[in-house]
């Protein structure tokens, strides 16, 4: 970590989180509308976003609730769907250069697909706790803002805007991933392999398992042929800031 003070790191992290707002607010609204339709009160709808902070599993849970699923079934399904965060949090914590256990336990609450993707493609200079906390402040607030909007005001966004924003998080992942592939064709091959692997696996199993298996299996295969710049000094900071 450079000698930047913690506040500067926090602000840099917040700035890196800005693209997530475009994805999280509409999805938060969609979740809240689903929850209200399933019979959740405004308090219950918002409490779930505050306490759980995991979009896909919240949507799944309210869907299951509406179909009359049992408590244990919904909790087990959530566990399976979010098991990928065990892998993602391992990468985040491994990359984080500093932070007390308490600080890291706080950071862990904000590990999502999006914060993981942004943080692990960052340069070493930004691989610190305060940067991550700044990042997840923005993702957490936008998820809960979307939830609140959807819970009390229903959908104020025109349908065409909501539909168009559906691409936002994919575009963000693309913007984080693809700059790393120019000039490293072996990594590009690995990404292509993973994409094909996951596409095949999602045909034969639940997508949450497919994602875990293709992520781990292909990273394992990659160990034997991909070369990484050990110092990710350049990273894609120009892409993020």
């Amino acid at each position: 970590m450079s000698n930047k003070n913690w506040k500067a790191s926090y602000m840099t992290g917040m700035r890196s989180g800005l693209p997530v707002i475009l994805g999280f607010v509409p999805v938060g609204i969609a979740y809240a509308i689903m929850a209200r339709q399933a019979g959740f009160s405004v308090l219950e709808t918002c409490s779930m976003s505050i306490a759980v902070f995991a979009g896909a599993s919240q949507m799944m849970a309210v869907g299951m609730y509406e179909q009359g699923a049992g408590l244990i079934a919904m909790i087990v399904a959530t566990f399976i769907l979010n098991l990928r965060h065990l892998i993602m949090s391992t990468c985040v914590m491994n990359q984080m250069q500093d932070g007390s256990t308490a600080g890291r336990l706080l950071a862990a609450f904000g590990v999502t697909d999006e914060s993981f993707a942004i943080f692990t493609t960052e340069s070493k200079e930004n691989s610190n706790l305060m940067y991550f906390l700044g990042l997840i402040t923005v993702t957490y607030l936008s998820w809960n803002a979307g939830t609140l909007i959807g819970a009390v005001a229903s959908d104020f966004l025109p349908a065409i805007v909501t539909a168009s924003l559906g691409i936002a998080l994919y575009a963000m992942f693309i913007g984080l991933l693809f700059p790393n592939l120019t000039g490293n064709w072996k990594l590009a091959v690995l990404v292509l392999l993973t994409a094909m692997c996951n596409t095949v696996l999602t045909q034969v199993m639940a997508s949450s398992w497919a994602l875990i298996i293709s992520t781990l299996l292909c990273a394992f295969i990659g160990v034997f042929f991909v070369e990484l710049d050990e110092e990710k000094e350049e990273g894609n900071t120009d892409g993020i800031n």
Partner: protein, 103 residues
């Protein structure tokens, strides 16, 4: 279901979501990984993002695959030119918006 059941559900979901996120926060610091494992961990962001993008991006709009393909293609082109993330996101959203005007 009564209202209390929902809060029980929220508590249970919170536990099973937070625990997998928190285990590495406690353990990773205390572990020393070998260079092979370190490389494996460094590759995971790339494979995980590949799996998060594909095949999901093609299914953004189940009725109209063109929405995902066009938006994704625009994002890829801009990303390869090292555009800012926000530019990639806004351009992809804008292209899909225009497409929806014609669909």
């Amino acid at each position: 279901m009564a209202s209390t059941d929902i809060f029980l559900l929220i508590a249970g979901m919170m536990a099973v979501t937070y625990i997998p996120r928190a285990i590495p926060a406690v353990l990773v610091d205390k572990m020393k990984f070998g260079s092979r494992t370190e490389k494996f961990l460094k590759l995971i962001p790339y494979t995980a993002m590949a799996a998060l993008i594909f095949p999901g991006v093609f299914l953004v709009d189940n009725m109209n695959p063109i929405i995902g393909i066009a938006g994704g293609a625009v994002a890829i082109v801009l990303a390869m030119r090292k555009c800012q993330i926000m530019v990639c996101v806004l351009a992809a959203v804008a292209v899909d918006f225009v497409l929806y005007l014609f669909l």
